[in-house]
């Protein structure tokens, strides 16, 4: 699971959707893998405005990345090549191959295996 995807998911349990504690989900025992992809600055420019920056800071911190800037880059800052490259590396080139994503509200854990997260809920949580 890539870091960008972690920013778009929360706990699948309905009761957790309204809780601030359920987002972002927290990585545990994460095994990271970096893979080089074509640099796609236009994608980063488009997608950064849709990112929850506070949550991304939490995730980056949990995965041991250097601290991100306090504020989300906007406007001209999104034309800075280095900024775009750093975000490209974090959002698209960093993926969690093994580990867990845990909800801070209900405590349910979603397993990540071979890069694939499983958000399928057992029936008592549906």
């Amino acid at each position: 699971m890539k870091v960008i995807t972690a920013n778009f998911v929360t706990c699948a349990v309905k009761e957790c959707k309204t809780s601030a504690q359920s987002f972002p989900l927290h990585f545990h025992d994460a095994e990271l893998e970096m893979s080089e992809l074509d640099f796609q600055p236009e994608f980063i420019r488009n997608v950064v405005p849709r990112i929850d920056w506070e949550a991304l800071r939490v995730t980056a911190n949990e995965l041991g990345f250097p601290t991100l800037p306090d504020v989300k880059p906007e406007g001209d800052a999104l034309n800075d090549e280095q900024t775009l490259k750093d975000l490209h590396r974090l959002l698209l080139e960093t993926q969690v191959m093994e580990g867990k994503l845990k909800c801070g509200n209900c405590g349910h854990e979603y397993v990540i295996k071979e890069g694939i997260a499983n958000f399928l809920l057992p029936s008592h949580l549906v």
Binding site: V9, E42, A117, F119
Partner: protein, 457 residues
């Protein structure tokens, strides 16, 4: 300026919607001047030649595009039209190497007649040498005859004359070659329900896939729509209630972390366009409630072979978790969560509701929906935040599937949903009770009165 688009003569109801989608994607003003389901020749108005080239470069159901030099119902009319429209252009091509040929639809011409036809245009005055291969410029005379689809062969005249004739200067070919590149026969990972290359590419086109965009398929399966969206440059994510569908079978794995769907992205050299796949059920999605997707493309399960399922216990019974060897059963490897039958209409509603909250403004939902043939033309599902852009139909004899394209409206704009589909799922618990399409399918699409009720589980 008018241009002639030569279309593939099938998937008729998809052809104009695709051209319009490509024009929308490119921000080009496109006016359809003439279109007929029975003809491969479509006349359009476009701002300039550059727009014509850009439009065709992304089209799948069009073959190529021509600058229109003239048209008529016979050669007299055609010549008169050419002499009216183009004399100011003739000198431009005075000395180029050039080609001239005749294309017939639903008709035939002998080589001798073709030559005579070509020679009748000698007043254009081109002096350059004729080249069969790679001429600098080429012209095509296109003749449309009455086809067997309009008039049965045995009722047609013996030696018919064309109904309509066009002369066009060739500009460029379309992206139809992609159909061969993405052919399922040559694709590494497919299943029996993979959507064919051509209609997958058309689906991605309708959804305005392009570089910089994020696309999602909530019923991803083997990823036909993702590779198609990636072909146009979009980044893609997918999920499925059955993770084995995209992960592949254990016994077919070639190495550690070998995810079957990724083999396709490697094959097409679009790995940079693959974001993620994950196990999830759209009805219980983990995706956040914010507008982050540019496109949603999907072919939701029809529920015929297996019946529609979502997460949850059948009959609503609570299944209490148990601990096995000190681990909760649902955290153990290989755990498969229970699923319950779900309604066809309920699924459509979930998809529209999801699209309304997940798409960015002007983002598109492009969805396939199976329909009994008798139900084609009935209202499609609607949502107040989504505008229906087009509905195209692919017929399979006694049933059909419709491709419905929606646009997410800006805040403050609402679409009129009073003409929307109002069908409710029947009450019941079994897959057939909940799915009219499934019931009709197993009844061989007879009307419900003439068939005996079925209780197929």
């Amino acid at each position: 300026m008018e241009y002639l688009v030569r279309l593939a003569q099938w998937h008729q109801s998809f052809r104009v919607p695709e051209l319009q989608a490509v024009a929308t994607y490119l921000g080009i003003d496109l006016e359809i001047v003439f279109y007929d389901d029975f003809s491969p020749y479509c006349i359009v108005k476009l701002p300039d030649e550059a727009a014509a080239r850009a439009l065709i470069a992304r089209s799948i159901l069009a073959k190529d595009i021509f600058e229109l030099w003239g048209q008529g119902t016979n050669y007299e009319e055609l010549h008169a039209d050419v002499k009216k429209r183009t004399p100011h252009l003739w000198s431009k091509y005075l000395n180029v190497t050039f080609g001239f040929d005749v294309d017939t639809y639903s008709g035939k011409r002998s080589q001798t007649t073709k030559k005579e036809i070509i020679l009748s245009f000698k007043y254009l005055g081109f002096q350059g040498p004729i080249r069969l291969k790679n001429p600098e410029q080429s012209w095509l005379i296109m003749e449309k005859y009455v086809s067997q689809w309009e008039v049965p062969v045995n009722e047609q005249e013996k030696n018919p004359e064309p109904q309509k004739i066009y002369l066009g200067r060739y500009l460029a070919k379309s992206d139809r070659g992609a159909i061969i590149k993405y052919d399922l026969k040559k694709r590494k990972y497919i299943s029996t329900t993979s959507m064919d290359a051509e209609l997958s590419l058309v689906t991605a086109n309708m959804a305005l896939a392009g570089p910089g965009k994020l696309f999602y398929d909530p019923f991803v399966g083997t990823g036909s729509f993702l590779v198609a969206a990636a072909h146009f440059g979009a980044l893609t994510m997918g999920s499925d209630i059955d993770p084995r569908s995209f992960r592949g079978k254990d016994e077919e794995r070639q190495h550690k972390n070998d995810i079957a769907i990724l083999r396709n992205f490697h094959q097409y050299e679009t790995v940079s366009k693959y974001v993620d796949t994950f196990g999830s059920d759209l009805t219980n999605t983990p995706l956040r409630r914010n507008h982050f997707l540019d496109g949603i493309v999907c072919d939701p399960p029809y529920g015929v072979r297996e019946g529609l399922r979502v997460l949850g216990a059948r009959d609503g019974k609570q299944i209490d978790p148990v601990v096995i060897d000190g681990v909760l059963n649902y955290y153990r490897p290989g755990y498969i969560p229970p699923k319950r039958p779900y309604g066809f209409e309920a699924m459509q509603k979930d998809i529209l509701n999801f699209a309304a909250r997940a798409l960015v403004i002007n983002g598109r939902l492009v969805m396939w929906m199976p329909t009994a043939l008798e139900d084609v033309g009935l209202p499609v599902p609607m949502h107040k935040n989504l505008e229906v852009i087009s509905v195209s139909v692919q017929s399979f004899g006694n049933w059909a599937r419709q491709l419905i394209t929606y646009r997410r409206l800006p805040e403050g704009e609402l679409s009129d949903i009073s003409k929307g589909r109002t069908v409710e799922d029947d009450r019941g618990v079994s897959a057939s009770e909940l799915n009219t399409f499934r019931r009709k399918y197993f009844n061989g699409f007879q009307t419900e009165e003439e068939s005996t009720p079925t209780t197929t589980p």
